[in-house]
Symmetry: C2
Subunit: 490 residues, 2 copies
């Protein structure tokens, strides 16, 4: 399988595209820009969902569901919001097909909607229209709601997981009585995302705010987590928006305060999407295929029998099933692949390519000697272990793999982070080195856009607790008080 598989060093982009397809994660569908998420890919997404959903609930949120469609007029109510999304909307205009005189199925023009419906690209507008009826007084606040849903943004250039016309995500939408509480919520969810990225995906992230230019359409402040991929490009992995009273004003959502005054409600929204699947793949995988952190791997351990005849297989299977059971008792998912239609070598390559963290192999000699061969996917190391107490060894190895992947990604990021002070240094870093480039910037959108035009680099984030230091903007030479993080990005 790995034979006709492009190497990262040869063509990183092609490596990614091939990997997603050959590892059975997803494929392009017959509908432009829309993907099919295959069972193996979806199983990883389900693990992501479960971990995130648990954290959302632990922080007091409840799930709900709002309509797929948004009336066009709702969109226009928040000016910057419509500006941000109008150019990439799927629009429903009719509600019926019919058979024409030639027997062809056509749109029934008599079934035209009075008002067009937009397939939601995000749900602030329909949700804040709903919240107007849910909120009368401070007693109704806060509302802490999340929804798991599909959304559509009509992207022109699409790539599996990274940028698709339809994608799956969660969007939290909360309503608060005070600005302070809404800001606390925004930051809390940023922390939840960062925790998830680092502890489940094993991907280190920078936490920070976006510049005005990179802000969500309709937000006062956008917080984000930014990850670095192996090709030195950044990937925005999650955002948490402080929306101020923008949507409350657009949809007239007021509440009676304890002091008996009418005030507009404060809002946040926050989301992560199937884009995380792309980040996961690009952060850890290698020229041998997927590398999955154990906490998100659908199969954490695979056991492969090595045998010459059915009698041997039968003997090995007894032992293998016992080992499987012992490991499963630790809450670890194990697959025992005793299929006779494939040879062990084929199976080894298959599970390696699919990123199964640990592979156990057991043959006739292992039966005699009470041993088992253990191979780690992350380091590709093999070792022979005693069968006794294998479940605890496996548990420790999985923990070790999880932390090793994180540490490796962190080391890579550290080595790929550059401080530069001049325009030439900046251009050299962006063009030849990649990675995060820390540089002074004069704080204007004008300069930001000129730098982007010249280098394709954007300001990924202004980190939280960013060290303050005096310097000069690498582009304009104007004074600056802090470095910001530039990079090319997905």
């Amino acid at each position: 399988m790995a034979k006709d598989f492009t190497k990262r060093a040869d063509n990183y982009s092609q490596w990614y595209n091939e990997l997603v397809i050959k590892a059975d994660l997803a494929e392009n569908s017959a509908v432009r820009g829309c993907m099919v998420i295959k069972p193996y890919g979806y199983a990883i997404w389900e693990k992501m969902q479960a971990a995130l959903d648990k954290m959302f609930k632990e922080t007091g949120h409840q799930n709900a569901y709002f309509p797929l469609f948004i009336p066009k007029s709702f969109f226009t109510k928040e000016a910057s919001h419509v500006e941000g999304f109008a150019k990439e909307c799927a629009v429903v205009t009719h509600y019926r097909l019919k058979t024409d005189e030639n027997g062809k199925i056509v749109v029934d023009e008599t079934a035209k909607l009075e008002e067009e419906l937009i397939v939601r690209p995000t749900s602030e507008t329909i949700i804040w229209d709903t919240y107007r009826n849910w909120i009368q007084s401070y007693r109704d606040l806060p509302i802490l709601v999340n929804q798991w849903a599909n959304v559509v943004r009509w992207e022109m250039r699409t790539r599996l997981f990274l940028r698709t016309a339809e994608f799956l995500w969660q969007e939290g939408h909360t309503a608060h009585a005070t600005q302070e509480e809404a800001l606390t919520e925004t930051r809390q969810m940023l922390d939840v995302y960062a925790y998830f990225a680092e502890n489940f995906m094993a991907v280190p992230v920078l936490k920070g705010v976006k510049t005005a230019n990179e802000r969500f359409a309709g937000a006062i402040e956008t917080f984000c987590i930014e990850a670095l991929m192996q090709d030195g490009k950044a990937l925005q992995a999650g955002t948490s928006h402080f929306l101020g009273q923008n949507f409350a004003k657009a949809f007239d959502v007021k509440f009676l305060t304890k002091e008996n005054k009418q005030e507009y409600v404060w809002a946040t929204s926050w989301g992560v999407s199937t884009r995380l699947m792309g980040a996961l793949v690009m952060a850890h995988s290698d020229d041998n295929g997927l590398v999955l952190p154990p906490k998100l791997a659908p199969i954490q351990v695979v056991i492969v029998p090595i045998y010459k005849n059915e009698e041997q297989l039968a003997q090995i299977s007894v032992k293998a099933e016992a080992i499987k059971k012992a490991i499963e008792s630790k809450g670890i998912s194990v697959k025992y692949d005793n299929r006779d239609t494939y040879k062990p070598g084929w199976k080894f390559a298959e599970y390696e390519f699919k990123g199964v963290p640990l592979r156990l192999a057991i043959g006739p000699r292992d039966l005699e000697e009470g041993t088992i061969e253990v191979a780690r996917r992350d380091t590709m190391e093999k070792a022979t272990y005693q069968q006794i107490d294998i479940e605890n060894k496996v548990e420790h190895l999985l923990e070790s793999i999880q932390s090793n992947l994180y540490q490796k990604a962190l080391n890579f990021r550290d080595m790929s982070t550059y401080k530069v002070d001049t325009w030439d240094e900046f251009k050299d870093a962006i063009e030849n080195k990649g990675g995060f480039v820390l540089a002074h910037w004069d704080g204007t959108t004008e300069t930001e856009l000129k730098i982007k035009d010249a280098t394709k680099a954007t300001i990924r984030t202004i980190p939280l607790n960013n060290p303050q230091e005096n310097g000069k903007c690498i582009f304009s030479g104007k004074p600056s008080t802090q470095r910001v993080v530039f990079a090319k990005s997905y």
Copy 2:
């Protein structure tokens, strides 16, 4: 809350509508026919999803995700399928909005799709187009895939949960090498649905097949589970379709058999939807509000403190928290409502209305005497229990409530099932009694439709293992070999 709440006997339909809204399950949105599922309602749906998903996985299925949009041309490939769904399709025709000369947001006519996209009403077509690439040989079979998704059918008359333009569901789509295997799968999933309905929803169901006229558009045979609501109307709670080779032929999906021959693949599809929420509400609830079976109740037990001052509350809370913990150790969800903003009477009414199966109340005297008051939602009975070992008593009570609800619904169905032999008896039963009416039918669609025209009753199902007996069709008088189940339905 129950004061301005319609009674079932007065207006069952209005009772249902009010209950869904007042119990915070769902509400109508600003988009015609689309609902907002509120957190309390969604929490019940999540419990349904979890139970079903577990059963799907235990029977070897995996989840995946297919596009929301279906190209119009796909629809036309299976003739009866398009006929079944063409009249209720949301059609996407454009992919961009723009600002016109008057500053108004309008559809950008230059951004017209070459081929219209249908928002999926069901996914057979897009999925079988995909399967063509997944299936080459018998080794690739079976494919056992399910997807959790939203679908859209442009219904003209909508009702919360029961019939909405957008709804949530799961749709299983499997591919098999033989007709026999596909039929076994179809029946297996019918059994899964029946098990879920009876053991989780506490709703007894009839298992059977649909008549040709009531069959899914594109199916060879549609199996269904049919439940009876308290007003004597039937509700189709789930369907499992044997699709034969219809979709394989329409999308040219062939496989190489073990004997090296090319054959079309055999298919099934099966689904249940948020309609089950409507069935759940209508099967058990009463004039005091929701009644939820413990296995699907988001809050299974609520503890309400009865106190006169803060000191008492503090003392009670220590005990209540200990009891909560003890009950939770049994895997039971418990809410301790110590909010000071509401009085106990208000809380009692609230949780009663929301169908919480068990309410525990604890006051100063209970502290002295080591007792606790326990109220069952299903029977409205109250009793005083010793606090000692309360977790086991609660566990048993919840089991008792679960089985009592099932038994009650089963008794109701038994009492509401009538055998009739003449047209007059039939009309009388349908018009004046309601329920399932077992009658002979001549097996023709013509007669079926005439009966429907005359009485609004349809054939809900021909039960599996239906007793065979000679008789005459109640409408045409022609010979018949078995009774079928007629009812008015949702």
